[in-house]
Symmetry: D2
Subunit: 394 residues, 4 copies
């Protein structure tokens, strides 16, 4: 691919880091179900009327592959998810062929090799993606990270510049955290990149430099699917009405693999920082309150969040708002992942490079070009997205 | 007044219909408290940084008067409200002089006179407002309706055109519902007009014709203070994410005078229609669910609303969001009433006439120039307001 | 059967009025699943340790039949319920045989015959039950009403005494409401009777007289499965701590057949009266607040109830408690229906006759021997149940 | 005093450990207000009809004193609490005399003296209490610990027996944690003792031995005022209906002094252990879920708790119950503290000694005579209390 003068994104592949996880599995199954007309495209932003003329690659034309370190077959994983309520079991038979096809395109993920330079692992990953693109005759591939959340990255001098990074990778085993290794491999394979997790990924300056050098677009990070989605819808209400939020407290209860990962305080730290940033941007930094993430295994794929907001009205009158959100994370994330692949592919078709701020709508902690404050207000983010893809906002 | 070529709104009076009610009383007390620096301007939109250069009349320059059919002195009413938790009792001494001053400017409201043409009542109301303006040397007066909600108006042929209306008023006792009689009197006194209730008020075509004829601005209706405020903040989240809302149900518990009024099913009908319109505009008309308003006397001035939203995500996965809002209606409404008087005065200073759509941010059911769908999304309404008063949006 | 000197309840049949409804279908499926050890007996009171020695008929020995006016086969109905989330679809194959067996024992229910004396309909119903008992060689049959809620009964002089009733039935088409006609038929078939609905059923004095005459036990009415269950658990907390409840408001959202029935204001009246009685008994009659039942078709079998309780503590300090209950009514009711059949059968084996007050634990509006106030506190009801079946409480 | 043959508790003093805290201040103010008939006795268990003939000392006959390490005058403290919403400011003038009288009876509390045997501190505390009793001619004094929660006690060999304890106190500065030092001093002053906190207090075996030796009654620990109160009301509902609770999660938001104390993870550990014990006793130990206590300073005296309970019904159907409790801890605790003093005084009048299990109704973690499981079900605890004080339950 890569004649960026064309406005058509072309035939598009989606390569998942974490391809056997619940989000990727649901995305593959859902793309097949929606593509075949088995279900309406509920939850898919790209299918809204506002984007009917945006020139996005069609959902039924996407080709899937990816990396993963586990080996549960996708059809088996889909059965588990259906039993857990992520989608109706009745859909399984209609999407099984698509799941098998994607399953054949999943390659073993990166595992630490303690005594080998990390570049070797990177090159193997890159080769997997290039082979996928070539074998399917794709115009472009978008790499989307939907693997488990990592702890914040241990600092390394080579993270700050591309030259130092290339040198370090050439002779050191542990330079990049795993999520960033995948991002590096994606860029080397000439792919746009989306970080759907709060992991370090492409955020290291050296990787951003590489993306700029190669003229590749990227977006992230941390998909805004539940509590934070509601927070960035509600937060502006207080700000724009001049109501003074005194405290905003939250408790999240979740089982599933994500819950187990976030029960690790280190990983939770990444998540909490990411979750809090939107509130601070909208309401300022004087708001009290903690956000808990509790691992409750019996909750399975269901996530419940309770938020309590104490605020002051006119003349100091105390008031409160509480909300309880009961959602299924994978079913919320999967359509957004498909959206992101399509929106990023389209942007690349238009020659966009670097951080794609018009995709802030999808993220808890949007990457942006410089240190300016990100827009976190949900409706404003949507209007930016809409305008960009209608050609008004660029 | 009324050299509309100046951009300064000038010295501004606020005339309340329902001047002894809890909203007006809190507004007068609050304007004094904020004006004197006793409390910060929490809850006042006009005091946000976004409007620092908008040329609004200052809050401490507003002069208050109004009509009411009861005769409880404002200082007494303020004591009752403080005891009920609407504002801190410690504020009372600092605002007593202001309450007394406003109290002296309250005149008896319109009472049905079964055997006199309704024009006589209108002329008496108009004369009260003109006298208030003259005695205080005001550049303009904004009339704001904060009286109790009326039932939907009984249709009358004279509602449809100004000529027929004037003729009917000249010889018939019952032509206009009370709220519309006040609106008529306000326009005849050459005043801008704000409907903070869902009552018919200025919405009758004949009155809109009169406002156009006289070049007067108006805004309304039904202040968006609680449940509906939250609904128009949350609704776009579902719409923009493509999530399919199946049902949106609500229950409001409230005591106080408003609760007693709305316990009347006829009056509640006005309110419910108004409350529902925002949801339908944002989410379409396929959403199931009722909205209840329960009169619970022991709740006093506190209003509690619970909303339950059932929605479908990707592949039909069922999810829910619930919220509970606990607010004090008068403390939410009072600063908005002051905001509206100031924003409308400013608009008039700029020569604006007719329905002021840029003020939709404040209303459940915004009046507009024609039959086009109103914008109900809260953040979008705010951006329109901001742009208009910075000169960008006109 | 009917040698009441034995303490063994004997081989027991359960005859459902409303045998193709969701409660009866779930009960039949569940009895089979629990009986076969496919699932643990969650939700079944009779299987608690406290009743291990109570001599109840075993769940896997129950034989099912019943009346219904619809003809959807039970296996089909079970499939619908499984798809709606009432129980896991994986259970279906294991209980299909049991569903088919019960299906063969369902007879057409009573339909109004405008020009025939009502006794004819009663005799046909009685004959169905007797035939069921004889063909299966059962020691006794318990008739359980799980059909749709009726409106309050139109008064009729013959309701007040058995002699008048028998005379009226002999020559009048419309004497008894349908639920009472079934109760009459059950008693004439020499069966104990359980009213799981708030319908008039056996509550008419003439029918209670018939039960006494024939020495038959009965229990009811209106199964306590959701909001009221929680209310009678929480209510005593306020009463016993001397906390003054000012208002208790509730909103129920439900779809399904029951929701549609209760959308009829007449039927809802039966329900609301029944729902409120427990609160009044526990907290007195000074508690403000309404209880709404909203029909929201898209909720399907799920029922959500929100309750808001405003109370005063020491020195008048205002406080609140809110709860949200999300349950599946049929899955809550079905095990209780099985419990009741077993507990009533056991009581009859012991020679108990008339209203079985020890079963108050199961009902919103417990029938009792005389006009004395019913015990509504849940834990006290449980202790009474436990004591009775351990022999201590009689 | 101490002719235990009389059934009259006699003239009773209440000695608070933490006498200037919010609970003690509210108790003193409230006893005066209720005693003078200014407010009804809402929230006072001892004033329920059930205890009208129990021979409790009247609330207006109680005499108050205590220890504290701070020196804010009680009338000042009461003003602060009234401003924070714990009770109405209008009550202040009517209770000021009572607050002043109690203030005169407050003595400096125990402070660590690093180089003096701890017995010296104990003797000074005992002397304060004895002097109070003598000067007021009281028949008995009940000592009630309402001071801040301590962390779990550091183990010390002398905690296990009275002989070793007396020896250690005679020559060692740090033997007992502060709460236990007060309990020791109370017993040496011949007083009954109530632990309203989860601090170690009287629970050390050596102190229980001392109480037995001196024939003194005691009760505790950790007043059941909010979330745990609701939990022990709701928990039995699940247990008695055979519903399987999978997880019970809770988040508490509170400001005030108690919030700051519990922000210390060590102190919170005492609290959490105490909070959890009731659930485990009622539902078994297989229930997942955490309980958070968040310090949110701006919440002031208000405490909000949200609990989420996920449970299984028949055939494994998942359901949930959530509740939100909004209470004022001091206003919940104060009347119970008065109740406990009166119930314990009455028990002592009857010659009761050792742990008073009939008072379990008031506590999260009831002390009892031996290792047998405590009764945590709220209604059952109430019935035990009622029966004991009517003479049936002993």
């Amino acid at each position: 691919m890569n004649d960026t003068s064309t406005r058509e994104p072309g035939r598009t592949g989606v390569w998942f880091v974490g391809a056997r996880g619940s989000v990727a599995t649901t995305a593959v199954a859902g793309a097949a179900a929606v593509g075949a007309g088995l279900v309406p495209p509920v939850g898919m932003v790209a299918e809204l009327d506002e984007f009917a003329d945006a020139g996005l690659p069609p959902v039924d034309g996407l080709v899937f592959g990816g990396h993963d370190v586990t080996d549960t077959p996708l059809p088996k994983r889909a059965e588990q998810l259906a039993a857990a309520g992520v989608f109706p079991p009745a859909l399984l038979s209609g999407v099984e062929a698509a799941l098998r096809a994607a399953d054949r395109e999943i390659r073993p993920g990166a595992r630490p090799a303690p005594d080998r330079p990390q570049r070797e692992a990177a090159e193997a990953l890159t080769a997997d993606i290039v082979s996928f693109r070539d074998r399917h005759g794709l115009d472009q591939v978008v790499v989307v990270n939907v693997s488990s959340t990592e702890p914040p990255a241990a600092p390394h001098p080579a993270h700050h510049g591309l030259t130092a990074l290339e040198a370090a990778l050439a002779d050191t085993p542990h330079v990049l955290p795993t999520s960033s290794l995948y991002a590096y491999a994606a860029l080397r394979a000439d792919c746009g990149y989306v970080d759907f997790t709060p992991s370090p990924g492409i955020r290291l300056p050296a990787l951003r430099e590489l993306a700029a050098l190669r003229g590749l677009p990227y977006a992230g990070s941390d998909g805004k699917t539940g509590e934070t989605l509601v927070r960035t819808a509600l937060g502006p209400m207080f700000a724009h009405r001049g109501l003074r939020v005194r405290s905003w407290s939250g408790t999240n209860l979740l089982g599933g693999g994500d819950g187990a990962t976030l029960a690790d305080p280190e990983a939770a730290l990444s998540k909490n920082t990411s979750k809090r940033s939107g509130l601070t941007a909208i309401l300022g930094d004087q708001v009290e309150g903690l956000t808990h993430i509790d691992y409750v295994p019996s909750m399975g794929e269901l996530k419940t969040a309770w938020d309590h907001i104490a605020f002051e009205g006119f003349l100091g009158t105390p008031m409160t708002l509480q909300f309880t959100w009961q959602g299924v994370d994978s079913a919320l994330a999967a359509p957004l992942v498909l959206d992101l692949a399509r929106f990023l592919a389209r942007a690349r078709g238009d020659g966009a490079t670097g951080p794609q701020e018009q995709l802030s709508f999808f993220f808890k902690d949007p990457v942006r070009a410089d240190g300016s404050p990100a827009e976190h207000r949900l409706v404003t983010q949507f209007e930016t997205l809409r305008a960009w893809y209608s050609g008004d906002g660029r």
